[in-house]
């Protein structure tokens, strides 16, 4: 009920009464819930407060981009989880955008083989739950891939096995050269490893979100008027140049807002790592919760963290959007 809908009389006494009623109702419910909460906490002897964050964690984390072992605190464990989440979300956003762009363009290409294949991919991926797809990817990694002693060689120096993806990593010591993983009797030495959990999660997230991004790309490109393309071709530009210089920049205007919300979805979907054992923020929070029993604090912190990530991604995309739409719309 906006002031306009109340007939221009402004917020009259009836609406003020409504507001008072809402306040009273919300306050009553909040007080009742709060009373129950304190009662239950006392009954179960659970202490509130964030002191547990400085306690010794007592559990290890399989993969950590910052140093961590079981002597560190719960707070540091949650930080490790957060960094892991950001790593998989960041890589996921980048790769899914690339793949989504390719599939979207394939769908629009008019090639009688590529277009239906892309359409089929989008329909199939969007019709199956993400968690199921993650389980399939994880099953591929744990059941179908060969064991570490006999890995698949994708490219020279890049190996795929049940132990994950091993690849060379640049080493800056003196000159720049690569630390290439070499096969030993039981696995690899040297190089870097992406664990099966991380790789399965990343591939699952990328393939899933690429389908949605392909649709966003498609609608963005289709929103650019036919005349733009015709004019560009009349100027003598070749197809790729038309795409790069004329169509995509305008398509970006339309595509950025839904793209932003898709990136936020990807970051939130990375929380499904808890189901396949990748130690992201949600997994570590789950372990911490089970060990300390501090449900409210842990879940509250986790939700705040994800909210912060969502807001940060939205803000970044809004900034890009503002830059792209600075010069007048069509």
């Amino acid at each position: 009920m906006t002031p306009a809908m109340s007939g221009g009389r402004g917020i009259g006494p009836r609406l003020l009464a409504t507001q008072a009623l809402v306040f009273a109702a919300v306050a009553a419910v909040a007080l009742w819930l709060g009373a129950n909460l304190f009662d239950n906490l006392a009954a179960r002897s659970i202490h509130t407060g964030f002191g547990f964050l400085w306690q010794r964690a007592g559990f290890g984390i399989g993969e950590h981009l910052i140093a961590f072992d079981s002597r560190n605190s719960y707070g540091r464990a949650l930080l490790v989880g957060l960094v892991n989440t950001l790593a998989v979300a960041g890589a996921g956003i980048l790769l899914s955008t690339l793949l989504g762009l390719v599939i979207g363009l394939a769908r629009l290409s008019g090639n009688a083989l590529a277009a239906p294949a892309a359409a089929g991919y989008v329909e199939a991926i969007r019709g199956v739950p993400l968690l199921l797809q993650l389980f399939v990817w994880y099953a591929v990694f744990t059941d179908l891939l060969p064991p570490a002693p006999a890995p698949l060689r994708l490219l020279p120096g890049i190996w795929l096995s049940k132990a994950g993806l091993n690849f060379p990593v640049p080493v800056f010591a003196g000159g720049v050269w690569f630390d290439i993983p070499t096969r030993t009797r039981f696995g690899f030495s040297g190089g870097a490893t992406l664990s099966p959990e991380f790789t399965a999660l990343l591939l699952g997230l990328v393939c899933y979100n690429a389908a949605f991004i392909a649709e966003i790309v498609r609608s963005g490109i289709q929103s650019v008027g036919r005349g733009q393309r015709d004019a560009a071709e009349a100027l003598g530009l070749r197809r790729v140049a038309v795409l790069r210089l004329v169509v995509l920049p305008q398509a970006l205007r339309v595509a950025l807002p839904p793209l932003g919300s898709q990136y936020v979805n990807l970051a939130k979907n990375s929380s499904l790592a808890v189901a396949i054992g990748y130690p992201d923020l949600m997994s570590v929070a789950d372990t911490t919760l089970n060990q300390t029993g501090q449900a409210i604090e842990v879940i509250g912190l986790t939700m705040l963290a994800y909210l912060a990530i969502s807001l940060a991604i939205s803000a970044a995309v809004n900034w890009c959007n503002a830059r792209v739409t600075r010069q007048g719309a069509a």
Partner: protein
């Protein structure tokens, strides 16, 4: 003949780049299709014990034949499984009937209420000579459908309230609605499920229990309400001001104006986005597997826990993937049909 060749050339070899793509696709198909067909169909084992599957090199569809009851119905007692089957048929039938625009009138709500009651009675039992089956034993596809349909139905009233509150000029309802919607839309569903699972018992009076299914439903309902509220808000914004003014001119009270004039038009406008939200919710019900509810996905994982059939994960996931896909594909086709036809008639 020449026309066919020209057509092929235009669609597959229109330019050097196009030709390259076509050749790459043909190469991919040649590499992938024969082994895939062999594994899926030709070498597959369609019936028999686990030993026969181990001996064969293709897919083990005998696993599906052996375990389909566990996957589809969870731990529901075998003798009573006709009841969840009937309940599912009722639910799907009700959804199918609701899809036809000719049924969109007030009496449809009665049909929904009647279906909901009969589904619950069938699943729970305890009356008319039906054995009582506690909801901890409900599982599989009926549970997935019940979670999705109940979740979105229960989310409707809060969503309408939230949308109205967000558009309100009053500070408190507006602030509360914005805070709730932005919070819920910024966090993953899994954290809402954990929230409900761990924290709802803490907020209930001592001694009052809420079982796992209800807690998950609370989480799903709150989650859907936030997304539905945004869709409904869009619909409310789309109703022309003149409608509200005309209602006022006719002397309708504010709540009548809302219920009889504004809301029906708003909801009609946003049915396609709401169908899309329902499709997303249907897929998201699979997340209750993480909090231990035996939905279709967890039932499939349980079927795989049997040591004799443990290595046939792909077959199990393909089976339930096909089920999910069938539902989602039908719903997305319907959503597209609606988008085409709802705009043709114009308002009202």
């Amino acid at each position: 003949m020449i026309a066919v060749m020209r057509g092929l050339r235009r669609r597959l070899f229109a330019s050097p780049g196009d030709a390259l793509i076509t050749l790459a696709m043909l190469g991919l198909i040649a590499a992938v299709a024969p082994p895939l067909l062999r594994w899926l169909l030709l070498d597959a084992q369609w019936s028999g014990p686990a030993a026969a599957c181990r001996a064969a090199s293709g897919a083990c569809w005998a696993f599906v034949g052996e375990k389909y009851r566990l996957i589809l119905f969870g731990r529901y007692p075998a003798a009573e499984q006709w009841r969840p089957l009937l309940a599912m048929l009722l639910l799907v039938g009700m959804l199918a009937v609701s899809c036809d625009r000719r049924t969109w009138r007030r009496s449809l709500l009665l049909v929904w209420a009647a279906t909901a009651a009969s589904v619950w009675l069938l699943m729970h039992g305890g009356v008319a000579g039906l054995a009582e089956v506690d909801d901890t034993q409900w599982g599989g596809l009926p549970l997935t459908l019940i979670l999705a349909v109940t979740g979105i139905a229960a989310a409707f009233p809060p969503a309408v309230l939230l949308a109205l509150a967000r558009r309100s000029a009053l500070a408190l309802p507006h602030a509360l609605a914005v805070a709730f919607i932005e919070l819920v839309r910024g966090v993953p569903l899994i954290s809402m499920l954990f929230l409900a699972s761990f924290m709802v018992p803490l907020f209930l009076p001592r001694g009052v229990q809420m079982d796992e299914l209800l807690r998950a439903l609370v989480a799903i309902t709150l989650f859907s309400a936030a997304y539905l509220a945004e869709a409904i808000r869009g619909g409310l914004q789309a109703v022309p001001r003149g409608q509200a003014d005309a209602a006022d001119a006719l002397g309708l009270r504010p709540w009548q104006r809302l219920a009889l004039v504004v809301l029906p038009q708003a909801l009609r406008t946003v049915i396609p986005p709401m169908v899309n939200i329902f499709i997303g919710l249907f897929k998201d019900t699979s997340l209750v597997a993480i909090v231990g509810l035996m939905d279709l996905l967890l039932a499939a994982k349980q079927a795989l826990a049997d040591p004799a059939w443990r290595s046939y994960a792909l077959e199990a996931y393909l089976f339930i993937g096909a089920i999910y896909f069938a539902f989602c594909f039908a719903m997305s086709r319907y959503s597209r049909y609606l988008e085409r036809h709802l705009h043709q008639g114009g308002p009202a």
